[in-house]
Symmetry: C2
DNA sequence: CCTTTCTGTTCCGAATTTCGGAACAATCGT
DNA sequence: ACGATTGTTCCGAAATTCGGAACAGAAAGG
């Protein structure tokens, strides 16, 4: 159902210090992003690690509550994640501040509205309001996408500090995800520059086919990028004539949220 | 704001095999239940572990995404928990099934409705619908309470398999949490027996003062206890005259959910 | 009913890791 | 400029993990 699986993987390189066991344990946990339930031997096959090691680690992970084992012996993610997930969610104050604006925006444009923050080289959805028509679906909060793909991600990339942005643009590997994913480094550069200038960006089928998204940046009181907000929906509803209005309302909402965070003036690069 | 902190702690005893490092790391993570942000030295003080060890573990935890460090050097829970929390939440099919019934019930009685499952010796809230009046508050999903306290918890305890139930009743240590928490083993036994007989249980100020809750069990297709559902609210609104109606509607909803899970008949103990 | 196969668990010596005190570096506050 | 506090690195001793192999238990198959 989802095309972006391995995306959540953690960069193995660049890290020195680390407790090897803990990292390997993480590898096990990550398996559960794509697999709901796994047996010991399934994990052995997937990871190629020795059975004994996995067996030992599973013991730990279960003891800590990260995993739990069903009566058939298979493992699944533990309820502990509910608790911590909730904690993290509560502590993201940006969400509380942005929610009213997002809600108003959703009602005005009748399209899905997303709130995104950066997490390393990825963007992560921290709130999502769906269009009211379909059943209110607890969609992919927590979903990740690389910074180069999708309007929401790109707006974050575009307003990163120059140094970081340049390094990313130089080093990133552009893997296609949707039909419209930008895979040419120069094109990406141009789009990013355009986004910085205009204060918004548009994506066509970059993450999901036939889906269009418009995104704008949110700044904090230091004038730094804090989050991104986007409107997304099916291509048919995002016509040429409608776009200008959508963009106006989106950027207005983004500015109001920024101001609520203590932001003052547009910062000239 | 909350009185039950350390409750989420994991039983250190009874576990042999375990990777010591991983478990210690868990101790660090658990600090973040009560503390939003912590510096290295604060953790040293709280845990009494040697600074070097903590430093090393923090490196690992950060690398894995469990923790992230702000620009001031302090650590906080990583956004990774959002992703896994969401995954767990999505995969709890009981929630999807129960939600419509819970929503209907909430609208009928206009009180908060909770859905609870068991996790070891604790109960954990997996869904919560608040009464519509106050702002819809993203309350304590993921919150835990011991099985002996509160209607929701007790209903789960009451319908556990006899052997397990007896062992729990024998061994549990009854620590008071709210003004009405049952701390007498015999009284608890009586209340539990009563709950089994009647199919519901009521609590007065057991977890939170001046709060009343009524709870009923939900069974799966094997006739085993699968979850608990409760109505909770301030004492003033739970009058003697109103209770019978509340109980009737609650148990009816619980039965409908049980049937949706494939449950057939009442099981005579 | 016995055999085969597949899964999960235990054992144990060799080897890698962690452990943690102490020294060092980097900030901060005064 | 100085002391105090916090974060980081070093290193030998000690404890843990590692993983092959053997074992146990259940399910599948004849």
């Amino acid at each position: 159902m989802d095309k972006n699986n391995e995306i959540a993987g953690i960069e193995k390189s660049m890290i020195q210090n680390q407790n090897k066991t803990v990292v390997k344990s993480m590898e096990l946990l990550n398996l559960f992003i794509d697999h709901e339930r796994l047996s010991l031997n399934e994990m052995v096959e997937l990871t190629k690690m020795p059975k004994t090691s996995i067996h030992r680690m599973l013991g730990s992970l279960e003891g800590m509550g990260f995993l739990q084992r069903g009566e058939d012996g298979k493992f699944s993610l533990g309820l502990l994640f509910l608790q911590f997930g909730q904690l993290v969610s509560e502590r993201l104050d940006i969400r509380q501040i942005a929610l009213p604006e997002m809600s108003a925006l959703r009602d005005k444009v009748e399209e899905a509205v997303n709130l995104i923050v950066r997490d390393g080289k990825e963007a992560i959805y921290i709130e999502k309001l769906d269009t009211p028509h379909p059943v209110r679906l607890y969609t992919k909060i927590g979903r990740r996408s690389p910074l180069y793909a999708g309007a929401c991600s790109r707006i974050i990339l575009s307003f990163l500090e120059e140094k970081e942005r340049e390094q990313y643009l130089r080093e990133v590997e552009l893997v296609p995800i949707g039909r419209g994913t930008i895979t040419d480094r120069n094109e990406l550069r141009k789009t990013v520059a355009d986004a910085r200038e205009k204060g918004y960006t548009i994506s066509y089928s970059e993450l999901e086919n036939d889906t269009v998204a418009v995104a704008a940046p949110i700044f904090d009181h230091m004038g730094r990028l804090h989050a991104g907000i986007s409107i997304a929906g099916p291509q048919e509803r995002f016509t040429e004539e409608r776009l200008p209005a959508l963009i106006a309302q989106l950027t207005a909402a983004a500015e109001r949220i920024s101001r609520a965070l203590g932001w003052r003036r547009a910062k000239r690069s």
